[in-house]
C-alpha cells in the first residue's frame, strides 16, 4: 500500500519528462491525460483502502501519508484533471511538448501537496504549483497573458511566503513544546501542549498565506487575471482543483488551530475571509463583461462558500464541503473547456460579442448553459444539495447571522451570474444568423463536458454509497467544532 503513494507523484513526473523529450510528436499530447487517469485510479484504490483504518498508508518514513481525506483529494485531482485534459484534446492551440510536460509536473505537485504529511513538504509542493503554472498562464502570446503571469507569480509567491513564515512559527512552537515536528499528525497530537499565543500567530499566518493560493478575498486579485488569460485546460485545472488543494491545506492547519486555541479563532478567521469573498464575487459578477473572468469570479464565490463550510465544521458541513469541492471542480473544468471552445469559435471573450449564442451554436452554448445552471446551484446538480447542507449546518451551529448573510450574498451572486449567462446564450442580437456556420463540435469533443455534468448531477445520488468514504474523510479531520 505504501508504495502506491508514490504513483500519483512519480508517474506524472516521468510522463512529463517523456513529453519534454519527445516534444513535437503527436502522441505526447496524450501523456498529461494518462497522468490524470493514473492519479484518478490511484486515488480510487487509496480511497477503498483507507476506509477501514485511519492513516492506513504511509511511505518514505512517514513523509507521505494517506488517510481518507487525502485519498478523496487525490480522486478529486484525478477526476478534475481528466475532464480538463480530455476536453483539451479536441481544443486547438495547446499542442506543445513543453506545455504537456509542465501540466504533468503541475499535477505531480498537486498530488504531492495532498499526500505529504509534513507542512514543509506541503509548502514546497504548493509553491511548485506556482512555478509550474507560471509559464502556462503566460502561454499565449501577447501582453495580457504576460501581465497576468507576472501578477500571479509575485502575489502567489508572496502569499505562500507568508504561509511559510507561519509554518516556521508553528515549528518553533512545537520545538518549545519539546517535540520539534512539521508532521500534521504529530502536530495534531501535540496541539494541546503548544503555547497558545505563538500557535495563534503561526496558524493565522499560515492560513492567511494559504488563503492567497485558495483565491479568498482580499488576497484574490491575481485570480481573475490568471484564470482568464491561461489556456482553457490550465484555467480548468487551476479553478477546478488547485484552489481546493490550497483549501485542503487550510483544513489541515485549521485542525491544529482548533486543538491548540479552541474553536473560535480559526472559525472567525475563515468566516471573515469566506463572507468577504462571497461579497466581492457577487458584486463583480454583476458588472462583468468577460465570460472567462465571470467564471473566475464564480470560483472565488465557491471558494468563499467552502471556506465558510470549513469554518462551520462538524460532520454535515465538512461532508458538504468535500462534495462541493468535487462537484465544483468537475463543473468548472467542463465550463472552462467549453469557454475555450467558444473563444476559438467566436474570437472574443467579451460577453457582449457572443450574445445569442444558443441560436447560432447550440453545441457550444447548450453545455455552457447547463454547466452555468449547475454552478448557480440549481437541482439536480450536487451544488444545490451541498449549499443547502452548508446553510443548515451553520444554522445548527448557532451561526444564524452569518448564514443569513450567506443566503443574501448567494442570492445576489445568483442574480449576477444568471444575468450574464442569459445575455450570453439567450440574449438577442450578436452576429447575424446567415454568417457562414463553422464546424459543429463532434460528439467526442462534447463527451468530457457532458460526463463531468452527469457526474456532478449524480453526486447527490452517489452520496449514499460514498457516505462511507466521506465519513472516514470527515473523521480523519477530527473536527471538533
Amino acid at each position: 500500500m505504501g508504495a502506491m503513494l508514490w504513483l500519483p507523484v512519480l508517474v506524472p513526473v516521468a510522463l512529463g519528462a517523456l513529453a519534454a523529450a519527445g516534444r513535437g510528436a503527436p502522441w505526447t499530447r496524450l501523456l498529461d491525460l494518462v497522468a490524470a487517469l493514473t492519479i484518478l485510479a490511484t486515488g480510487l484504490v487509496l480511497l477503498t483502502g483507507t476506509l477501514s483504518a485511519p492513516y492506513a498508508a504511509s511511505a518514505a518514513g512517514g513523509l507521505l501519508r494517506a488517510d481518507a481525506l487525502t485519498a478523496y483529494l487525490v480522486v478529486t485531482i484525478g477526476a478534475v484533471a481528466t475532464v480538463a485534459l480530455w476536453g483539451a484534446l479536441s481544443t486547438p492551440g495547446t499542442a506543445d511538448g513543453w506545455f504537456t510536460a509542465l501540466v504533468c509536473l503541475f499535477l505531480a505537485a498537486m498530488s504531492l501537496a495532498v499526500l505529504a504529511d509534513n507542512l514543509g513538504v506541503l509548502w514546497v509542493a504548493i509553491e511548485a504549483t506556482t512555478i509550474t503554472t507560471a509559464f502556462l498562464v503566460g502561454y499565449h502570446p501577447g501582453r495580457a497573458p504576460l501581465e497576468a503571469a507576472w501578477k500571479y507569480v509575485v502575489l502567489g509567491s508572496v502569499g505562500v511566503a507568508i504561509a511559510f513564515l507561519g509554518i516556521v512559527v508553528l515549528y518553533a512552537t512545537s520545538r518549545a513544546a519539546g517535540a520539534p515536528t512539521l508532521s500534521w499528525v504529530e502536530l495534531v497530537a501535540l496541539a494541546p501542549r503548544l503555547d497558545p499565543e505563538a500557535a495563534k500567530l503561526g496558524v493565522a499566518l499560515t492560513i492567511l498565506g494559504l488563503a492567497t493560493k485558495a483565491g479568498l478575498a482580499p488576497m484574490h486579485s491575481w485570480l481573475p487575471d490568471a484564470h482568464s488569460q491561461a489556456p482553457a485546460p490550465v484555467s480548468g485545472l487551476m479553478s477546478g482543483v488547485l484552489l481546493s488543494v490550497a483549501l485542503y491545506a487550510v483544513m489541515r492547519v485549521g485542525v491544529i488551530g482548533d486543538l491548540a486555541l479552541g474553536t473560535g479563532f480559526v472559525r472567525g478567521l475563515l468566516l471573515a475571509l469566506g463572507l468577504l469573498s462571497l461579497a466581492v464575487a457577487a458584486a463583480l459578477m454583476f458588472t462583468q463583461r468577460d465570460y472567462k473572468r465571470l467564471l473566475a469570479y464564480s470560483s472565488i464565490e465557491h471558494m468563499g462558500l467552502m471556506a465558510i463550510g470549513v469554518a462551520i465544521g462538524g460532520p454535515l458541513a465538512t461532508t458538504a464541503v468535500l462534495v462541493h469541492m468535487l462537484g465544483h471542480g468537475l463543473i468548472k473544468a467542463a465550463l472552462f473547456v467549453q469557454a475555450g471552445r467558444i473563444l476559438a469559435s467566436e474570437g472574443s471573450t467579451r460577453i457582449g460579442d457572443v450574445t445569442g449564442l444558443l441560436a447560432r451554436r447550440p453545441d457550444l452554448a447548450g453545455p455552457f448553459l447547463a454547466g452555468g445552471a449547475a454552478l448557480l446551484g440549481l437541482p439536480p446538480f450536487a451544488l444545490f444539495f451541498t449549499e443547502v447542507a452548508l446553510v443548515v449546518a451553520g444554522w445548527q451551529a448557532g451561526l444564524w447571522a452569518p448564514m443569513a448573510l450567506v443566503l443574501a450574498l448567494l442570492l445576489l451572486a445568483f442574480a449576477g451570474m444568471s444575468r450574464q449567462l442569459v445575455r450570453m446564450t439567450l440574449g438577442a442580437g450578436g452576429r447575424s444568423l446567415d454568417e457562414p456556420a463553422s464546424a459543429r463540435l463532434s460528439r467526442g469533443a462534447l463527451a468530457p463536458v457532458l460526463a463531468a455534468l452527469v457526474v456532478a448531477a449524480g453526486l447527490a445520488a452517489l452520496a449514499v454509497p460514498l457516505s462511507g468514504a466521506l465519513g472516514s474523510a470527515v473523521e480523519s479531520l477530527a473536527v471538533l467544532r
Binding site: 509534513n118 514543509g120 513538504v121 509548502w123 514546497v124 509553491e127 511548485a128 506556482t130 512555478i131 507560471a134 509559464f135 503566460g138 501577447g142 501582453r143 495580457a144 504576460l146 501581465e147 497576468a148 503571469a149 507576472w150 501578477k151 507569480v153 509575485v154 509567491s157 508572496v158 511566503a161 507568508i162 511559510f164 513564515l165 509554518i167 516556521v168 512559527v169 515549528y171 518553533a172 512552537t173 520545538r175 518549545a176 520539534p180 512539521l182 503555547d195 499565543e197 505563538a198 495563534k200 500567530l201 481573475p224 487575471d225 482568464s228 488569460q229 463583480l284 458588472t287 462583468q288 473572468r293
Partner: protein, 219 residues
C-alpha cells in the same frame, strides 16, 4: 565558538540585516538596491554560520555556504545584469518620498517587535531576541513591493521579504528540516528566474517595464 562571541556575531549580523533593509527604502537607484541585497545575503549567511557553529550543527554551516553563494552572490549578480542590460540605471521613483519611507520602516519595525512577543516568550537565547529583525525585513519587503514601479524593484522586494522569513526560520528553530530548507532555497531561485524571463518578455513586448502600466487587466 564562545557564548559572548556568538551573541556578538548574532547581534552584528541582525544589525546589518536591519540596516540594509532600511536603506533599501531610502535608496532610489536599483543598482544600489542590488548591492544592498548582496550585503544582506552576506549578513544572513554569517548569521546561519554562527548558529551552526554554536550548535555544532555542521549541516547548517553547509547551508550557510549555500546561502552565501545564492543570496550574496548569484541572485544579486543576476539582478545587476538585468539592470545593466535594460540600460536603465536611473532612479526608480517610489510612490512615497524617502522621509515618509523611513518613517514607515520605523513604524513597521515597531509593529514587528509587538507581533513577535509570543515568539520571544518561547525561548530566551540571544538568537531568539533577533527575531523582530527578521519580521521587520518581511514587512519592509512588503513596503518595497507595494511602493516601487519597476519590475526589478519588485523582485528585490520579494527577496528582502524572503530573507526576512529565512532569518526568522534560522533564529527561532535553528532552521527547519534540511529538506524543506533546500526546497525553499531552490524555490527562491526558480521564482527569480521566472520573474526575470517574464520581465524580459514584457520588455520585448513594450519597452521598459513600469508595472504601473500593467493595467490592461482589470474590471
Amino acid at each position: 565558538m564562545t557564548e559572548t562571541l556568538f551573541a556578538q556575531t548574532v547581534a552584528a549580523a541582525t544589525g546589518l540585516l536591519l540596516l540594509t533593509a532600511i536603506l533599501q527604502v531610502w535608496r532610489r537607484s536599483t543598482e544600489a538596491s542590488a548591492r544592498l541585497l548582496a550585503l544582506q545575503g552576506l549578513a544572513l549567511a554569517v548569521l546561519v554560520g554562527a548558529i551552526g557553529l554554536a550548535d555544532g550543527a555542521f549541516e547548517l554551516v553547509a547551508v550557510a555556504g549555500l546561502v552565501l553563494a545564492l543570496k550574496a552572490v548569484a541572485l544579486p549578480w543576476a539582478l545587476t545584469r538585468t539592470i545593466a542590460r535594460s540600460g536603465n540605471r536611473g532612479e526608480d521613483s517610489p510612490r512615497v518620498n524617502p522621509v515618509s519611507g523611513l518613517l514607515a520602516a520605523a513604524a513597521l519595525a515597531t509593529l514587528a517587535y509587538a507581533v513577535s512577543r509570543p515568539l520571544l516568550a518561547l525561548d530566551s537565547g540571544p538568537a531568539t531576541h533577533a527575531v523582530p529583525a527578521g519580521l521587520t525585513l518581511v514587512l519592509v519587503g512588503f513596503l518595497v513591493l507595494l511602493t516601487r514601479h519597476q519590475a526589478v524593484s519588485q523582485v528585490i522586494g520579494f527577496l528582502v521579504l524572503d530573507n526576512g522569513i529565512a532569518t526568522v526560520a534560522f533564529l527561532t528553530a535553528g532552521g527547519v528540516p534540511l529538506v524543506v530548507e533546500l526546497g525553499v532555497l531552490l524555490d527562491v531561485v526558480l521564482v527569480v528566474f521566472i520573474l526575470r524571463i517574464l520581465s524580459a518578455r514584457l520588455e520585448l513586448a513594450h519597452g521598459e517595464v513600469d508595472l504601473h502600466e500593467l493595467r490592461e487587466l482589470r474590471d
